[in-house]
């Protein structure tokens, strides 16, 4: 009898093994219910904001004139969100009907004289030099592009070796650059140390944006673009130091490929894409090369230009 009952009872399930999981799930569900209740009663969320928000009012008015389809409404909400941040409506006004003088002042943007300027408040000026870091990051990026182009003439993206432990063509070409190419040593040195300076400056730039609260409305979009740029920067560095295919490169690549494959499901797919397989192989060098000299520069350059264009449109946030 007892043996039968034992046989009939199901094996201990996932929740029994991990009792914390249902507690956490329950908490999440309870919090979501409270949140939704607050939104529906109009204490927080869209209803509460509609009174103050002219972009919502405008969309409501358009909907009253003629019912909007889901696509139209989604489009309008997105457009209004971006318009609010990038002042599209002001530019559209200027392009169409504004006198030339106003257009001149908008295009040749100047630093506003705020009262901190007028009253000579020193605590704002203490931050002032840090506002240069973004531009500095771009300058160092240009330096990296120029030296990288020179290195590209001589680097061979191949990890194929004749025998185990023998230097690969990639390794040998880096050695060749450092010893035989005129000015090759200094080009690689500039490119190497430029990377360190670049990463440090991008990180400091992010810190200045954080500590001066410049990521707030209306600059959320630029903060997100910046975050993508940060990841591009880190991946630039990582893919770059795999290229010489020395012991450091192989060690770092091993950690990277192990990290990628440890994520179930998508991990192996990502590893196949980025490292050219779930284990390291000579293909890894070629993959990293292509990321380093084409994909990342393409994404990075476009995003940097968009990033700085948005700064130009919105102006720089002064800490007030």
């Amino acid at each position: 009898m007892a043996a039968e009952a034992l046989a009939a009872s199901p094996a201990p399930g996932f929740f029994a093994q991990n009792p914390l999981v249902p507690v956490v799930l329950g908490l999440i569900i309870a919090l979501s219910v409270v949140f939704l209740a607050l939104v529906f009663t109009g204490i927080i969320g869209p209803k509460a904001k509609e009174r103050l928000d002219r972009k919502r009012q405008a969309i409501r008015q358009l909907g009253d004139r003629k019912p909007l389809t889901l696509i139209e409404k989604t489009y309008l909400i997105l457009f209004a969100w971006i318009d609010e941040r990038l002042r599209l409506r002001h530019f559209s006004e200027q392009l169409a009907l504004m006198p030339a003088r106003d257009a001149y002042y908008t295009i040749h943007r100047q630093m506003p004289t705020s009262h901190s300027d007028k009253y000579n408040v020193k605590s704002v000026w203490a931050w002032y030099p840090f506002y240069c870091l973004g531009g500095l990051a771009f300058v160092v990026f240009l330096e990296l592009v120029i030296t990288g182009v020179v290195l590209g003439f001589y680097y061979i993206p191949s990890g194929v070796v004749k025998a185990a432990g023998a230097p690969s063509p990639a390794y040998e070409s880096v050695g060749f650059i450092m010893t035989d190419v005129p000015f090759g040593y200094i080009m690689r040195s500039l490119h190497h140390w430029g990377t360190h300076v670049f990463v440090a400056i991008v990180f400091l730039h992010m810190m200045r944006v954080f500590f001066t609260g410049s990521y707030k409305n209306p600059r959320e979009l630029n903060w997100i673009i910046g975050l993508i740029l940060l990841q591009v920067t880190l991946f630039f560095g990582y893919s770059g130091y795999l290229l010489p295919w020395d012991t450091l490169a192989v060690g770092a690549a091993t950690i990277g490929v192990n990290m990628a494959t440890s994520l179930p499901g998508l991990g192996p797919i990502a590893a196949n894409l980025v490292f050219g397989g779930v284990t390291l192989s000579p293909a890894t060098v070629l993959r990293m090369y292509w990321f380093h000299i084409f994909i990342l520069p393409a994404i990075g350059t476009v995003l940097m230009i968009v990033h700085m264009l948005i700064v130009w449109i919105q102006g720089v946030a002064e800490p007030h």
């Binding site: 030099p129 300058v139 500039l190 609260g213 020395d246 450091l248």
Partner: protein, 323 residues
């Protein structure tokens, strides 16, 4: 597509109408005014030139005197030597090591993509947790929606930032725990719990110290001066400015008492009636200031440049009570 373009045009029209209405009703005087500016040249140009030159000097110094390393050729078949990533990835490596404390969990998988049961081990947790900082940063502008931008005015955010930077630093430190152990503890391994405690705990006192330092700065004048939003309530309340015909500069208590100047009401013109003090939202005790400056002028009291005339305001222990 064409419909969407029409819709855009309609939206812009409606929106402009609403803006105009808003300006008419609430902000009559504002309108679209051209802002007077300070040109980019020479101020920013000089600053940028100096800083670019300095950074390039550092870069060239490193280039000339520190050789870019080239280690022995890599060997895929026998990688024996242990290797650390570059400094800017050490934090992630530190998370990998700290994640060794998280217990292994067996979770049901999604069969076509993964095996039936997946093992969530330290490597998994380390890799997954490396994504957390990016998620926190991405959510930041949507969580922190307050208006204050300056660290002094938003000390909690600044302290949180310091905590984050410190935690990244201590994680990076923990990632080289073996080297620290070798160098300073002669391979005893007992240093690991100590280093771990430092990693988790050290950021907190630093952040707390920063928080209280910023809180103390809030009492200063500089902070107040920047807070004056030129509401001109003081000017409206003052009986003297009602009868003197000085269109500009207006009375501005914070500016006057900070810069030791009297732009709206002269030192001996003031009635010290206290009307301005009563209305200033930033609580500048202007009449006491005027009396003090008169005593200084008569040689009765010694001049103290640090003396502040901000009326103390009690916001409760954590600054949580409304003013």
């Amino acid at each position: 597509m064409v419909r969407l373009l029409d819709l855009t045009r309609e939206y812009l029209e409606v929106r402009r109408e609403l803006d105009r209405h808003y300006l008419d009703t609430y902000k009559k005087s504002l309108g679209y005014e051209l802002m007077e500016g300070r040109p980019f040249f020479p101020y920013e140009a000089i600053r940028d030139t100096i800083l670019i030159t300095a950074v390039m000097a550092i870069l060239l110094f490193l280039t000339a005197f520190a050789a870019p390393p080239l280690n022995p050729p890599g060997n895929l078949d026998s990688q024996t030597e242990f290797i650390f990533p570059d400094w800017y990835l050490l934090w992630s490596f530190g998370i990998l090591k700290l994640a060794e404390d998280i217990p292994v969990i067996l979770a049901p998988g999604l069969p076509p993509l993964t095996p039936e049961i997946v093992e969530l081990n330290a490597l998994f947790w380390g890799s997954a947790l490396s994504g957390v900082p990016f998620m926190v940063l991405g959510a930041l502008p949507f969580i922190d929606r307050g208006k204050e931008r300056r660290p002094v005015a938003a000390p909690f955010r600044a302290a949180f930032g310091i905590w984050g930077v410190m935690f990244i630093a201590t994680q990076s430190m923990y990632s080289v725990n073996m080297i620290i152990d070798q160098q300073y503890f002669h391979n005893q391994n007992f240093s690991f719990p100590l280093l771990k405690a430092i990693t988790y705990l050290a950021p907190f006192p630093v952040a707390a110290g920063f928080y209280f330092w910023l809180k103390s700065l809030q009492k200063g004048y500089e902070f107040k001066l920047n807070r004056c939003y030129q509401c001109w309530l003081c000017d409206d309340a003052c009986p003297i400015t009602q009868v003197t015909s000085k269109p500009f500069p207006k009375l501005n208590l914070i500016y006057n008492s900070y810069q030791k100047q009297f732009d709206g009401v002269g030192l001996w013109e003031c009635l010290t009636c206290g009307a301005c003090t009563a209305v200033c939202p930033e609580e500048i005790d202007y009449d006491s200031y005027v009396l003090y400056m008169r005593r200084v002028a008569m040689g009765i009291e010694k001049y103290d440049p640090k003396k502040s005339f901000v009326r103390p305001r009690d916001h409760g222990p954590l600054g949580l009570l409304p003013p």
